[in-house]
Amino acid sequence: MDFMVFQYPMISVQACLDGILLGILFALIAYGMALQWGVMNIINIAQGDLVILGGYIAYFMYLYGIHPAWGVIVSPIIMFFVGIAIYKLVINKVVDRDLFISILATFGISILFMQLMNFAFGADVVLANSDYGTTMLFNSNVVLPNSKIFSAFISILFAICLVIYMKKSKLGRAIRATAQNARAAKILGVDTEKVYAATFGINAALCGVAGALISITFTIHPYMGLPYTIRSFMIVIIAGLGNLPGVAMSGMGLGVFEEFADYILGTEFRIGSVFLLLVLILVYRRFKLSRKREYLK
């Protein structure tokens, strides 16, 4: 236990800002997960691996002399098609089955992706340098890498675009209709098969954006996907499906929680604390549900 974070107020400010910037990025990944969970009732364990794959796209652009920030545009385009391909090959066979089968299927995809990435890109830890510099605040007591600010900004931008797209476009409306009632949507002439494919593609594209941002701010490695899956799962559990402001808030909350856990408990418990929080929330939800059931009795 280390309570340094409370002794120096500037460290608290630093932890909060770091957490919020990080949380916005998590929220973007979680939003993709919530979308496909809501529409297709699929929990995608391979979410984190899609993120890492997106990161590799940005990394390779960087390797060939293109600024990795362009990855934010190129990576989602490629990942969209990767997403559609995965849908056509695997997901469409499990989409109407129960949740357990889809978890197994996406777990398999996750392992496959890890190994393929390891095979294709090697096991080295890599990163893409943006050379964006640093912002100093409060008499340089708080430092924020511009790459983190950039990634939060881009995440917000993509989230806003997506919300508008969902509201205004024909496909967006079809997706929402399918999420509400797939059968009714089908009867009314919505091609649900196409909607599912597009949803999975959009989710993969969001992962692509997030991956590109992660390669700029952190590091990527074929086996680093799972923590991102867990975090987005956690955010969606807290926020609930189809609740975008909720996803954003719980994303930022999780980011700040992680940062403080990092300072107080130590970096080694960072991911562990996320797991712990997940368990606590699930227990709390159960508790609340059982109370409700008692009223009904």
């Binding site: 630093q14 932890a15 390891n118 096991a123 640093t134 992660i214 952190f218 970096t267 080694e268």
Partner: protein
């Protein structure tokens, strides 16, 4: 019908089992000495696994082309059976069993990493198979009383204690304050123990002692603490991702620290991935091409570097160099034992006292090499942004003078 099927499958299983055990034969065949190795060709250690394999292959080719191994008046050539252990300790142990009991291998080369060596060592020990390993540095390997394990490299606890001594020396012999961040795996924790010993020995003080997780990609919290506490030395060890993450975030957060010491810089291709931001970092290394050790096969470090680069298209990291050295040790031991009796070869290995291009090799009773110090190099960049690793400690091998303290970010 069903019972018939069961009987048939039982019999065929028994036949397969028998046939494999009948096929096994001792692995000095004709003029070939067949060594066995489980190497991580896939999985998370695959890049270092490949360096290891390249190092082994380079030495096999070189020794074979330069006359091979002379035992009992006859000349033998080396050959290696490789299996892919998938970076998985359980698999590595299984493969060691298979190499020994099915393929009949009588002498083994080590895998990559301390963890996998730990998994294999009990197997080779059980069968009395001498193993020369080049990539398992964890101290715990050498305290178990293994009789058949020999490591050509220096143990992990010696990686970074030199850095603390150096900092004290630069501080006019006065104790220093140390911030530490170590991953929680066997290797990094051994490095940590070595640093703790050095801190105690010099009367220094540790001000931060953080543990890094396996899935590390953010150590901002540790670095904020470093900014606050202003230690004299920051020590980081967390494999390649530790080195990469540290340099990225130290440069982004403009953390000023007089001395930064790390492990795995060359495996992380630090100067290539980070350019000038990695400047002044001190790195522990088992080997560097500018060291002036010599042998008859590879001549010296510079020649090895050139030959390896020519053959494999990249400069050899120390993981490759130490792997090549393992073969030289085996050759020497076979010739001194003048026999393929495992016990005699084991005794000859234990009595090894030789110099290779990689360093002097002499084994302590635990099997670790006690005759080769670690070196520290510092990343130094010219104005054009081209960076090079230059040995700065120990002074005997230094090719450049240590730059200390590291200039602050505002002056860079």
């Amino acid at each position: 019908m069903k019972i018939n099927k069961i009987i048939i499958s039982f019999i065929s299983a028994a036949v397969i089992l028998l046939s494999t055990s009948v096929v096994s034969f001792a692995k000095v065949v004709g003029d070939k000495i067949v060594l066995g190795a489980a190497i991580s060709l896939t999985g998370k250690y695959s890049s270092n696994g490949v360096h290891t394999q390249n190092g082994y292959n380079m030495a096999v080719d070189r020794i074979n082309s330069m006359g091979g191994v002379k035992v009992g008046g006859k000349t033998y050539k080396f050959d290696i059976i490789y299996y892919d252990d998938e970076s998985n300790p359980k698999r590595a142990a299984q493969l060691a069993e298979r190499l020994i009991s099915q393929d009949g291998v009588e002498f083994m080369l080590g895998p990559y990493s301390s963890g996998l060596t730990k998994a294999i060592a009990p197997v080779t020990e059980k069968y009395g198979v001498p193993m020369v390993e080049a990539n398992g540095a964890s101290r715990s390997l050498f305290t178990k009383g293994y009789k058949y394990l020999f490591a050509v490299l220096a143990p992990a606890n010696l990686y970074l204690d030199v850095a603390i001594d150096l900092a004290v020396e630069k501080n006019n012999g006065k104790p220093v304050t140390v911030a530490m961040a170590f991953e929680q795996d066997a290797f990094s924790q051994d490095v940590r123990l070595g640093v703790l010993d050095a801190i105690k020995r010099t009367g220094s003080k540790k001000v931060i002692d953080d543990k890094l997780p396996k899935e590390l990609n953010d150590m901002a919290a540790t670095l904020v603490k470093v900014k606050q506490m202003k230690p004299d030395v920051l020590v980081v060890s967390g494999h390649t991702k530790g080195a990469l993450t540290a340099i990225r975030q130290i440069s982004e957060m403009k953390v000023d620290v007089p001395m930064l010491a790390m492990t795995h810089c060359d495996a992380a291709k630090l100067s290539k991935q980070h350019g000038k931001n990695s400047q002044y970092a001190l790195c522990a290394s088992q080997w560097h091409k500018t060291l002036t050790y010599k042998d008859d096969f590879f001549k010296d470090g510079m020649t090895y570097d050139a030959d390896f680069t020519k053959e494999f298209g990249y400069a050899p990291p120390y993981q490759a160099a130490e792997s090549s050295a393992a073969l030289l040790v085996f050759k020497d031991a076979f010739e001194r034992a003048n026999s393929f009796d495992q016990k005699k070869v084991r005794d000859a290995l234990a009595a090894t006292n030789m110099q290779t291009f990689y360093g002097n090799i002499k084994f302590a009773s635990g099997g670790q090499n006690v005759d080769k110090p670690m070196v520290l190099f510092q990343v130094m960049c010219d104005d054009g942004g081209k960076c090079e690793n230059k040995v700065v400690a120990p002074t005997k091998w230094a090719s450049a003078k240590l730059i200390h303290p590291i200039p602050s970010w505002s002056q860079r």
